[in-house]
Symmetry: C2
Subunit: 134 residues, 2 copies
DNA sequence: AACGGATTTGGGAACCGTTCTCATTAATGG
DNA sequence: CCATTAATGAGAACGGTTCCCAAATCCGTT
């Protein structure tokens, strides 16, 4: 199979974005990643952060979801490359844990098929308060 | 508990917004509702549309989701008041059908509990192409 | 019917996150 | 070391949503 090509080649900024995201175990907004990098003394532009975030998303290295407030948030998920999965996300600190969801996958498939829908995709995210934030 | 009170009293504009939404069987954006009303000759402001959409949402008469593009879209769901449910949404025309999801509810509950999360909420939406759009 | 207080309305400004533009800078390889 | 190409980042542009506030409307009371 033709491997999905990275849109940007490995650069210092790209690595910085990836590392910043990898350092967190939760979903972060682009702005927040940018803020962290700048606070860290890194020289990087907001556009670049968005660019790499997009590229990583295209590569499947980063997961994207929209939290209940509609914000776009990203998370490093390179550990389970390609593997489709879902999360339990803390709505307070953003921390997230991957969860197994094959049952949900099947349910989504069947449900959509029953309604006659094709080319199906789905969004399944569970939000709550993690033990620490509760 | 104190019942969630409607934020606005029944007004002509409120009714117009509700009717516009009820007339559609899919999720629509605030802007789109506004456009339809204006095209219909109605005198109404964008702010007012947003206001009523919010009020209806608070009252549970309208469902809100963020589609994969991050847009906020609303749907009239007064038919199943209070009843928590999910949808199969056409990503092309916005048409949506309610689906039964008690299995998913249980899965979400259990999954969150297993991770030690509390005050759990979840997002489950299935997107695809409806028979007509396929 | 007329008045007065409270509520709703809506136009426009403000806001915020994201995307776009493009001149500058850095990397590549010949 | 030069030339070509890709990446960068500052700021402008954009689109959706919220905020602000003066004008309009509604409602209970005389």
């Amino acid at each position: 199979m033709s491997p999905q090509q990275t849109r940007t080649r490995a650069t210092a900024q790209g690595a910085a974005v990836r590392d910043a995201l990898r350092a967190e175990d939760g979903f972060r907004s682009a702005q927040s990643v940018y803020a962290v990098l700048r606070a860290d003394g890194q020289k990087i532009g907001l556009s670049t952060v968005y660019r790499h975030l997009q590229a990583f998303t295209d590569d499947g290295v980063v997961d994207v979801i929209h939290n209940p407030d509609g914000e776009t948030v990203y998370r490093f998920c390179g550990d389970t490359p390609g593997g489709h999965h879902h999360h339990v996300v803390c709505r307070s600190c953003g921390r997230a844990e991957e969860v197994e969801g094959s049952a949900v996958e099947r349910w989504a498939e069947q449900t959509a098929a029953k309604a006659g829908f094709v080319d199906v995709d789905h969004t399944v995210e569970v939000f709550g308060l993690c033990p620490d934030c509760a």
